[in-house]
């Protein structure tokens, strides 16, 4: 496949065959070497063939092979001629990250790491098959699907207004319609509200290790050595089923012939089915927002038993797998488009009305979890991102090794020992899940963050290092 270097960190797959637009890969030379090793570039090309795609099919520096779209893939579609594709959002709809700040310092935690990890692990279900103690009727679940984190705070009284105010979409996506979510999806999701799940999902206690942008850090309420908590989870079985249902429905309605990957099945944005998928996807996104709101409530309760004076506040909460209608400037004109972000974070620059008022003057907070045991970053979005990547940036380190490869070469017990040596307490559902998520299986987060900084699609604010890790 032809790949042209355009400038530092920017590469292009020229238009050929059925491609409607070019492919653009944003990566350093080192990251590109990894990206070339799997099918990422082929998947970028497949996305470029979809109807109504605008400008380019984009892969970000953390991208790797996914299904349908690559992970780290971004594409915008024309509202009239374009499509919406469940495979461009993924099964874990609104897999996302919430960041909490506390009034604790690193030294407050150090003596208690082990007790805290045990207590949080007991309180907050994670891993395969651990159900939730949060009981909810079907009727009430429907309200959660339409009301998201906002409903959990206002009606169920689990949290404060600032929690959802500082969440993407203010904790509730519009156009959510629970009648578009199948019984099957409800049945899968009803016992899973308030669970972290497994795989790459986690709950971490971290401390602020370095600050790069003092002004932004102050606005986010960050200080060196401050204790921060990070929750990474999504819409669980409910979201998975919504994706499966609509992939099936779109196949039945529009077929999949002519698609280079059956997972790219889609519907016109303004078609009945396209709108229905969006409404169901919004419900799943709200489930994920609500899920993290409930977990936040439990984290507060549990941490209070250790630190009666603790204050825990939401800094921000970002989506990683989502499709959204957004206004962008195309050839000098403002236009609504449907942006798909799959394993990518929105990174709007200063001034956008979507950003909570407290942060609007500096840009949207961007939360980048590192791989297990490595640094995580807080960044802010930029105008440059709006010009280059539909206001998007990376979502994490991005895998570089397959799970099977990691399992063959790494042992969970040893990884735990290594993390303990670095002063990190870890508790996981199984040794295997530790091995699969080992830092060695991921790209170097520092390299990924440097690359987005160089590109100007987000700006570094602070670096966080883990002290306690709970894995599903």
């Amino acid at each position: 496949m032809e790949l042209k270097k355009i400038s530092k960190n920017v590469y292009e797959i020229p238009k050929e065959g059925k491609m409607n637009v070019i492919g653009t890969i944003y990566a350093s030379e080192k990251l590109l070497e990894n990206i070339k090793k799997d099918k990422t570039l082929e998947q970028v090309k497949n996305v470029a063939c979809l109807p109504g795609i605008i400008k380019a099919s984009i892969a970000l520096p953390d991208s790797h092979q996914g299904y349908g779209f690559p992970i780290g893939g971004v594409a915008a579609f024309d509202m009239d001629t374009g499509v919406i594709s469940p495979g461009g959002v993924g099964y874990d709809i609104n897999c996302s990250v919430r960041l909490l700040r506390t009034n604790l310092k690193k030294q407050d935690i150090l003596e208690k790491q082990r007790e805290i990890v045990e207590a949080l692990y007991r309180k907050i279900p994670s891993g395969v098959g651990r159900g939730s103690s949060f009981n909810i009727s079907k009727q009430e679940l429907n309200k959660v699907l339409e009301g998201g984190a906002r409903y959990v705070v206002e009606k169920l009284k689990l949290g404060v207004k600032e929690d959802y105010e500082n969440t993407e979409e203010r904790g509730c996506m519009e156009k959510a319609d629970a009648s578009k979510v199948s019984e099957r999806a409800i049945k899968r999701g009803i016992g899973q509200l308030g669970t972290v799940g497994a795989g790459n999902h986690f709950l971490e206690i971290q401390y602020v290790d370095d600050i790069y942008d003092k002004k932004a850090a102050k606005i986010f309420g960050l200080e060196e050595n401050q204790i921060i908590m990070m929750i990474h989870c999504g819409s669980r079985g409910l979201g998975h089923q919504v994706a499966s249902d609509y992939i099936q429905a779109m196949e039945n309605e529009y077929g999949f012939r002519g698609l280079s990957d059956r997972e790219l099945v889609n519907a016109p944005i303004k078609s009945k089915l396209g709108k229905e998928y969006f409404s169901a996807m919004a419900c799943a996104a709200n489930f994920a927002f609500a899920n993290k709101q409930i977990i936040t409530h439990w984290v507060r309760e549990e941490m209070k038993s250790f630190f009666p004076e603790i204050k825990i506040e939401v800094i921000y909460d970002v989506c990683h797998n989502i499709a959204k209608f957004e206004e962008h400037v195309i050839d000098g004109k403002k236009q609504m488009v449907c942006v798909h972000r799959k394993g990518a974070t929105r990174a709007f620059g200063p001034g956008r009305r979507e950003i909570p008022s407290a942060y609007r003057e500096i840009g949207q907070p961007v939360l980048i979890p590192g791989s297990m045991g490595t640094a995580s970053y807080i960044l802010i979005g930029t105008k440059r991102a709006e010009e280059l990547t539909w206001g998007s940036t990376v979502h994490g380190a991005g895998r570089v090794q397959s799970r099977t490869h990691a399992l063959e070469n790494l042992r969970g017990e040893e990884i735990k020992k290594e993390l303990n040596k670095k002063g990190i307490e870890v508790k996981a559902g199984s040794w295997k899940s530790l091995a699969e998520e080992a830092p060695q299986a991921y790209k170097d987060i520092d390299e990924v963050v440097e690359t987005v900084s160089e590109l100007g699609i987000s700006k570094k604010v602070a670096r966080l290092r883990p002290l306690v890790v709970i894995k599903g």
């Binding site: 090793k37 799997d38 990422t40 790797h64 092979q65 996914g66 299904y67 349908g68 992970i71 495979g87 993924g90 099964y91 874990d92 891993g127 395969v128 098959g129 099957r184 049945k187 899968r188 899973q192 799940g197 497994a198 795989g199 079985g237 998975h240 994706a243 499966s244 992939i247 099936q248 196949e251 039945n252 999949f256 990957d261 059956r262 997972e263 099945v265 895998r399 570089v400 090794q401 397959s402 799970r403 099977t404 490869h405 559902g429 199984s430 295997k432 899940s433 699969e436 599903g472």
Partner: protein
């Protein structure tokens, strides 16, 4: 060989084999079980019956594997093995397994994807390929 795993950076890709369509599906279920439970032996004392159909063999395979995930998530039932009967594009299967709470699982499977999926004849046997979102 009943099934094998292939390289995939983000997710899990497997191929399964069978001398006929029933065996191909049964072996695919075993691959899925190995992803979820590793090499743990699951008792097969309990029984469930499932029925699915599809527009082609690929979607029938997809729907069959999804149904097994659905049993695990909603009925807390983990399979040990399956006995599959395919007639045209209709499938019925008896699933032998146990209560999931009796085991420690290692791996979640979020969904069965359509990415790179196929069912085909190759060298005198049936082969299929599936990518699982994990």
């Amino acid at each position: 060989m009943k099934f094998k795993f292939l390289e995939h950076t983000g997710d899990v890709k497997f191929q399964a084999f069978g001398k006929n369509i029933n065996e191909l599906f049964e072996n695919s279920a075993l691959a899925l079980k190995e992803v979820i439970c590793g090499k743990i032996k699951v008792k097969g004392g309990r029984k469930k019956t499932i029925k699915v159909n599809g527009r082609d063999y690929e979607s029938m395979l997809h729907n069959f594997l999804e149904e097994l995930l659905y049993l695990l998530e909603t009925e807390k039932f983990i399979m040990a093995k399956t006995k599959v009967k395919v007639k045209g594009l209709k499938l019925s299967a008896v699933v032998y397994g146990d209560k999931s709470g009796n085991y420690n699982f290692v791996n979640p499977v979020k969904a069965v994807t359509y990415s790179e999926i196929f069912v085909k004849y190759e060298k005198g046997r049936l082969v299929c390929q599936v990518v699982l979102d994990v």
